[in-house]
């Protein structure tokens, strides 16, 4: 695999961001709204990819990080009456703290045990949401009031419920997460993470502290996922326990596998693909999950490394 020059790599990613910006002006209303949602959830997948794709740690509990951001931001507004920026910061802070704690505990295990431990922690998080229903709204969830979802810059008021503002906010979050991811994977730190994925013992022998590198990767991954969750609460106005359920731990795994693990743009491609397959097929049959299943099998057969992963393997070796 050859490495792309900075101009080529950043050019591609800035091009994708520009394309998404341009799409805002031409997409029909429905797809405009859907793409805003997809970009926010693609950030969730990017956070997942950071740990799964680049460090090789398969977590089945990332819904708790998404949920930490979702509830951190949502409850800060609903229960404490905080402003949008403060609520977003609260969501991020919840993600940082939770991922640091989970990382410290779960990284004592590896492989299948890591999967199980992360899944168990996520289940505890989910049940805590139900247990503290008086605060969280339990399984029914709560609405983040529409009047509170505004950003104020001096005399300028940005209404996050406005479709254009929402799309641009989602794009801004997506762009920041994408460029941070790209910068990380191209950095020395990113190479150490890949080295840990390929051979942890050898990386240790070379003098790297693999535990602290893995821990920081868990925190970065969890924080990106929390940013996605916080943005979801603020942009779409709902916090509910279903977003912290095991289904939402498996979804980012599927999105990343589909798009291509350890590719920076794979999470977006995977999320986009899955969303559109479900959206289109559910219009024809209630057995749409069967079609999704068949599509997944076909992808595994013909694109075993995911869409972008296989493209990189066969044609564009420089793709980051």
């Amino acid at each position: 695999m050859s490495e792309a020059s900075p101009a080529k790599a950043y050019g591609l990613h800035l091009g994708v961001i520009a394309l998404l910006f341009g799409l805002s002006f031409v997409l029909p209303d429905y797809y405009h709204g859907l793409l805003a949602r997809i970009m926010v959830l693609a950030v969730f997948a990017m956070g997942y990819n950071m740990l799964f794709g680049y460090v090789g740690l398969l977590s089945l509990g990332h819904a708790m990080f998404f949920g930490a951001g979702l509830y951190g931001a949502g409850l800060a507004i609903i229960q404490l009456g905080w402003s949008v920026p403060a609520a977003f910061a609260a969501g991020l802070a919840c993600g940082v703290v939770l991922s640091a704690i989970i990382g410290l505990l779960a990284l004592r295990t590896t492989g299948v045990a890591f999967m199980i431990v992360t899944m168990m922690f996520a289940q505890v998080f989910y049940l805590l949401i139900l247990y503290f229903a008086a605060w969280t709204g339990g399984d029914q969830g709560q609405v983040v009031p529409q009047p509170a979802r505004v950003l104020t810059f001096g005399a300028t008021v940005l209404d996050l419920t406005n479709p254009t503002v929402r799309y641009m906010s989602a794009l801004a979050l997506f762009s920041v997460a994408l460029l941070i991811t790209l910068a990380i994977v191209r950095s020395r730190y990113g190479r150490v993470l890949v080295a840990i994925r390929e051979n942890e013992e050898r990386t240790k022998m070379l003098g790297f502290d693999t535990f602290s590198n893995k821990l920081s990767a868990v925190v970065i991954s969890g924080t990106i996922c929390a940013a996605s969750g916080a943005a979801y609460a603020l942009l779409f106005g709902y916090v509910g326990s279903s977003f912290a359920s095991v289904q939402y731990s498996i979804l980012p795994l599927l999105w990343v596998l589909l798009g291509g693990a350890a590719t920076t743009l794979g999470p977006l491609i995977g999320t986009l693909f899955m969303y559109y397959v479900i959206d289109i097929t559910s219009g024809y049959t209630s057995a749409y999950l069967l079609i999704v299943g068949v599509a997944l099998i076909l992808l595994v057969l013909f694109f075993p490394k995911g869409i972008l992963g296989t493209i990189r393997q066969r044609w564009l070796g420089w793709l980051p």
Partner: protein, 433 residues
């Protein structure tokens, strides 16, 4: 020929390029959403109702019957001339009984299908998850959920529940009968999530007002599959067990409760939600014989059914046992699905009052719905009469208490509307449209 009345390409200087530009602009205009809305509003095109259906996921059994009831109501409305002289068309989207997908579906109705309203959601978490999308799109959203979320005034001005009484009112109206007929010392067994919490929170004060008490509350985790270990927590002096277990575990719950008590049991009172779409004669449910249930609308045909109730049952296609005509095993969700029928007639009435022509009249539709006060019992409201509180967007109706007797549910008491009234917790009409 007078050339001044003809269109001269050369004279106007119209080139092929400008003609193509004009054509493209015209086509663009014709495809623009605003143009479509305008042309629909001016014609006798159908009124389009977006039906957010639980076709898959945990609500699928309800969703199927909600669709059947909706189809029957739409046929009846169209046969009688539609709404404002326009036929009514239903577009169905599956929300997977998932709040995230639910919000997307509401967005799809608003921006892709361009429906006039969205209707039909049952599960509370889907309603709450979808409500922000409806409010932001200024899309009237008529739910048939029975949750207290609409009446709590924590959603928004575009969300209504005019066809089924909310659970807080249902619980409150059960209390006088329980205290007077079943017993004064009540133990509650409920699932440890929101549906159970409504019962946990609203029953004790309602019973207290009737001189009865909840002496124990036993919350059972939603993941539980065996219940025997919880039964020793039931106080010995319990006169009534009030149970609202839902989901597939209900059969095990009843069977194990039967094994625990044998023939000497306290009175049992439950909400039929546990057994909607489940045959009351299923093996293991024998223990329920002689017990009582809340029913919104009776599953079994009753001796004193009104002509409207009979016509409604025939139109929807349920037999005297509440199962699909021709398929006795396909038991309906009769206690709730009448809400779809009645809600659609409320929509009809409100659209007629508002002189509704198209999406530009959605605000008028909201105000016309808020202005409604009561619905008389009859073909449009076969479950019974109702009042409507426009400030909290919630209707209040009579409730049925039925006894399991000889493998059927027989209505033994009908509550009054006043039994379920409570003080409004807010006022949606103060919110901007």
């Amino acid at each position: 020929m007078d050339k001044s009345k003809t269109f001269n390409l050369q004279k106007t200087g119209l080139t092929r390029r400008t003609a193509l530009k004009g054509l493209a602009a015209g086509a663009g205009l014709a495809m623009a959403p605003g143009f479509v809305r305008y042309s629909q509003a001016q014609s006798s095109a159908p009124i389009r109702i977006g039906f957010q259906s639980h076709r898959t996921g945990i609500g699928a059994a309800y969703g199927r019957w909600y669709e059947k009831t909706t189809a029957a109501a739409i046929k009846a409305i169209n046969d009688a001339g539609g709404i404002n002289g326009r036929p009514v068309e239903v577009i169905i989207e599956d929300d997977g009984t998932d709040p995230g997908r639910g919000a997307e579906v509401v967005g799809k109705f608003a921006t892709q299908h361009k429906t006039d309203i969205v209707f039909g959601t049952l599960f509370s978490h889907v309603v709450i998850g979808s409500a922000p999308a409806a409010g932001e799109a200024k899309m009237p959203y008529f739910v048939v959920s029975e949750g207290h979320h609409v009446a709590s005034t924590k959603l928004n001005r575009y969300v209504f529940q005019p066809g089924i009484t909310d659970v807080k009112s249902q619980i409150q109206s059960m209390a006088p009968w329980i205290a007077a007929n079943a017993g004064k010392k009540v133990t509650q067994i409920f699932p440890d999530f929101a549906f159970g919490y409504d019962h946990r929170d609203y029953l004790p004060p309602a019973l207290k007002a009737q001189g009865a008490d909840v002496i124990a509350q036993i919350a059972i985790p939603p993941t539980e599959s065996s219940f025997t270990k919880y039964f020793p927590q039931i106080p010995a002096e319990t006169e009534v067990i009030y149970h609202v277990m839902v989901g597939p575990a209900v059969l095990t719950f009843v069977k194990e409760l039967g094994e625990f008590y044998g023939s000497q049991r306290p009175q049992l009172f439950g909400f039929i939600d546990s057994l909607e779409a489940v045959d009351i004669n299923s093996p293991g449910l024998e223990f329920l014989d002689g017990s009582h249930f809340w029913e919104g609308s009776p599953r079994y045909a009753q001796a004193d059914d009104s002509a409207a109730q009979k016509a409604y049952r025939a139109a929807v296609g349920i037999d005297d046992n509440g199962a699909a005509v021709g398929d006795p095993k396909d038991v309906s969700t009769a206690a709730h699905m009448f809400g779809c029928w009645e809600t659609l007639y409320v929509v009809k009435k409100a659209m007629e009052d508002a002189g509704y022509k198209g999406p530009e009249d959605r605000a008028k539709l909201v105000e016309a719905t808020e202005a409604l006060k009561e619905f008389a019992e009859g073909p449009e409201h076969p479950q019974g009469p109702k009042t409507f509180n426009g400030k909290i967007h919630q209707c209040f109706g009579i409730q049925n208490i039925s006894k399991v007797e000889g493998g059927k549910l027989k209505v033994v008491h009908k509550t009054k509307i006043e039994d379920g009234l409570y003080e409004a917790e807010g006022d949606y009409t103060t919110q901007a449209l």
